[in-house]
């Protein structure tokens, strides 16, 4: 009987709880409540469930798993109140130890390794094996005071000319930017440019130019060849070894060289800029030699040879 009553009133009960009951439903509820104390208790219970369930959002916001981890962490932190300091101290000691070893092994001026660095001047030096190195301006060479048993390794930033003492058992290796240059005994010019590409010009002998990242990118260059490593790719350039080491020899020689190339070499050698506004002389080929001459003298000779006027504007020479 009671059970059937409950069943009948289910939706009515719900509507009353939700506050959406009609007058008739209210009346039905009241009659039902009057019918027995059990009904009254049941409705009281439902009211409680109804109002309490509104408060339950908090429970779903508590992340028990995450909070348990927090408790563990808090506990550890408490336990190791002295711990962190000891840990830091140990970490510092270990780091210092390794640093000293690293410094000794790898750092310039600290032990095994030395460096030479140029700014506005050029430099020359003789390495332990008898190899001669000419270092251009704004360059840096890192080299060991004594070479390893199996190889002769140096690192270069900027530009240098190497005259390597032959030793078939100990290859001479230059790391420059992205390039690894490996030789047995030869002379060559290495130019590590601002864009981190590396130009290698071989004067004598045989040289390997290899990418540091992509070991498949390797080029073997012989006397007179010029190779370029850029973006981990090696290419053999059309130009030949000519004035690449003019910064060292101070002599520039051109033999039936296109004007654009001449201007390029002059730009690099004298650290100036040219701008050719004369279309007529664009395709001329020039044979010319300068030997350690002032830029003004060079300009004067060019004016005579090309029958043009060259005006200096700031650091740019404009050919009219």
């Amino acid at each position: 009987m009671e059970d059937r009553n409950q069943h009948i009133n289910e939706v009515v009960l719900q509507n009353v709880l939700q506050g959406s009951a009609s007058a008739a439903q209210e009346k039905e509820l009241n009659e039902w409540l009057q019918a027995s104390d059990a009904n009254k208790a049941l409705f009281e219970k439902m009211k409680q469930i109804w109002s309490a369930s509104k408060q339950l959002k908090e429970f779903s916001e508590i992340d028990e798993k995450a909070d348990w981890k927090k408790i563990k962490a808090k506990r550890r932190a408490k336990k190791n109140r002295l711990g962190p300091w000891l840990k830091y101290a140990a970490a510092i000691m270990i780091t210092m130890g390794f640093s000293l070893i690293y410094l000794h092994e790898n750092t310039v001026g600290f032990g095994k390794i030395a460096q030479i660095k140029t700014e506005q001047e050029k430099s020359e030096l003789l390495l332990a094996d008898g190899t001669k190195v000419y270092l251009n301006k704004n360059s840096r060479l890192v080299y060991p005071k004594k070479f390893d048993d199996d190889k002769r390794l140096v690192k270069l930033q900027g530009e240098a000319f190497f005259d390597v003492k032959p030793n078939a058992n100990k290859p001479f290796i230059v790391e420059s930017g992205e390039a690894i240059i490996k030789v047995l005994g030869t002379s060559f010019n290495v130019y590590n440019k601002v864009d981190n590409s590396t130009e290698l010009s071989v004067k004598t002998g045989k040289v390997s130019l290899k990418s540091r990242k992509d070991k498949d990118q390797e080029l073997v260059l012989v006397k007179g060849d010029v190779g370029l490593l850029r973006n981990h790719k090696v290419i053999k350039l059309k130009s030949k070894f000519k004035n690449q080491d003019s910064w060292r020899t101070r002599a520039l020689k051109f033999h039936q060289a296109p004007l654009t190339l001449v201007l390029k070499d002059l730009e690099k050698h004298y650290q100036v800029k040219f701008e050719n506004r004369n279309q007529k002389i664009k395709d001329l080929e020039i044979t010319l030699a300068f030997d350690n001459e002032e830029i003004e003298k060079v300009i004067h000779q060019l004016e005579l040879l090309l029958q043009v006027k060259i005006i200096k504007h700031k650091n740019i020479y404009i050919i009219k």
Partner: protein, 191 residues
Amino acid sequence: MTHQQANQTLVLVNETSIEQWYTTYYSLLCVYANKFLKDLDLSRELVQDVFVNLYDKKEALSIHTSAKSHLYQSVKNACLSSIKQKQTYALHHENIKYLNGDYSYETDELYGQSELEYELYKAIEELPKKCRDIFKMNRIEGLNNQEIADYLNISKRTVETQISKALKALRNQLAPSLLKTILLFLLSSIE
């Protein structure tokens, strides 16, 4: 002496028991603490610290009465001292009666309420999925039946049926613990 000892239940405090108490009481205690602090994150931090302290005292602590009672009192003390510290307890005027004298969870209305809510929450979590989702949408998210029907693309009638189903299941499941609460509720209303 022997009589006194007989009244004490010595509870074994170890890693396993602490973890058990955590599963049983953590959420409940957080919600209880939140009734004082009105800041659930703060409440969680506070209850976490109570548990951390349990580990600290593990060896020395012998808990009289019961774990439940100990946790309840620790959380309550922590809440009250937190309120005092903030000197904001004037704002919690309604809780001032708790500042005086002994207390036990058995006569603590707020705790009873928290317990009921937790029982209810667990019971709701055990409802069949559809039933549970609809009930939660109505009660927790505050949508009305028509809105739920539209949202789930079902009839309003179905929503009503599911809510009735939920209510029926809940009132059957919650019988024992609720009975007590209702009794307390009736008693306090007589006062």
